[in-house]
Symmetry: C2
Subunit: 228 residues, 2 copies
């Protein structure tokens, strides 16, 4: 029997690459996306396209209400998305409280129902935006907790692994890896503040990191950007 993996899929570059890596490692992939009060639906349309392009076994999108708590420029319309570079030692206003904790918890629930012991998340500790829940120590603590949370934990069964194949890669290395594996980055969206037609802004933190990555990887970003 082939191994099953639950892969968190945001519609961005990183999770599309993490999915391709999970597939290349021989997993049957179950992709999980979230409608969590994002300001725009572009990301989720991209997640659908990525899931189809990479032939996942199943793709589910869960509607969750992180927006009700506010506190982030990504979910609270009263907080503007900044278009200048964030300061190195500051957690930007685009941070969504406990987002990865919540996402991983749903992944854990689905994995348990599927009898899967492998969860993939495309977090990245190098070229990242300073989010606390993208750090290796957070992931390690999450994995430890998850292995005490489930039936398998009590029955001394198989251990769950939270795979973070991108965690020590630069954006350029992620892009090179993805291109090797045939990822179509044209159907991924990284922008925090896209135009209504889906074009990326090119100036938010996330677009800057992405464009820098493609530049360093020596390729052109196939994503459509707003005209200057």
């Amino acid at each position: 029997m082939r191994k099953k993996a639950v892969v968190l899929l945001s519609g961005g570059m990183d999770s599309a690459t993490a999915l391709a890596i999970a597939k290349a490692q021989g997993f049957d992939c179950y992709a999980l996306s979230f409608r969590y009060g994002q300001r725009h639906a572009v990301e989720l349309e991209c997640a659908d396209q990525v899931a189809k392009a990479q032939c996942v076994v199943e793709h589910r999108t869960v509607t969750i209400d992180l927006g009700m708590f506010g506190g982030s420029a990504l979910t609270d319309l009263n907080i503007a998305v900044p278009h200048e570079l964030s300061k190195p030692d500051e957690i930007p206003v685009t941070y969504v409280p406990a987002r990865n904790t919540v996402f991983l918890s749903y992944a854990l629930a689905w994995a348990e129902v599927l009898s899967s012991f492998d969860v993939f998340i495309g977090v990245n500790a190098l070229d990242y935006s300073g989010y606390p829940d993208c750090r290796p120590e957070f992931i390690a603590a999450y994995e430890k907790m998850a292995n005490l949370a489930t039936k398998a934990a009590v029955h001394g069964g198989r251990k769950l692994t939270v795979h973070t194949p991108l965690i020590h890669l630069t954006k350029a290395q992620i892009i090179k890896k993805g291109l090797e594996l045939g990822v179509d980055y044209g159907v991924t969206s990284s922008c925090y503040d896209p135009a209504p037609d889906g074009a990326a802004c090119g100036t938010c933190d996330s677009c800057r990191l992405r464009l820098k990555g493609f530049k360093e990887a020596g390729g052109a970003d196939p994503r459509r950007y707003k005209p200057c």
Copy 2:
């Protein structure tokens, strides 16, 4: 300024008691409930009544879709709620995959937005139903993870505490404690399979534990039960 606590409130006996303890410790309480695909709404009506009776600052009910994953008699209509006692070494079919992990993750998100560093959950490791995510080692691992997940974690700020005031109490001790603090158990519901009018079945695991608790505590359960 008074301290704020996020208190998970299910509408059952234990969380009502945990809330009363949080209040007695001087916290301003923010109660959090979940519509998670339960078979019945009785629990949530009780949560509303408990929140009102105990004068919480705010009570939010988040709709989440744990039922979509199936795998539990509490959320999957194809699995029957058992009415005989569960075996001591077996996790019963009423276990909901990763439920407390998901609930605590939302509590963590809300706590971060509220600048609260205290979360209360009424889990119980003695007279419990054998759920893995009610054990002290799970809670300890969760707290450790939570303290790596948030802004405060990165900024070396205050530590978050997951309070489990009932974890080492018997059901009888919980009831005695609650009665001392003035909890009205008539507005709490513990039944996994209540009648449409809210009457408890008296025979599921949860009703059996509750009735045994009241018997040992030497009081009558004010909750309405189905006639035999």
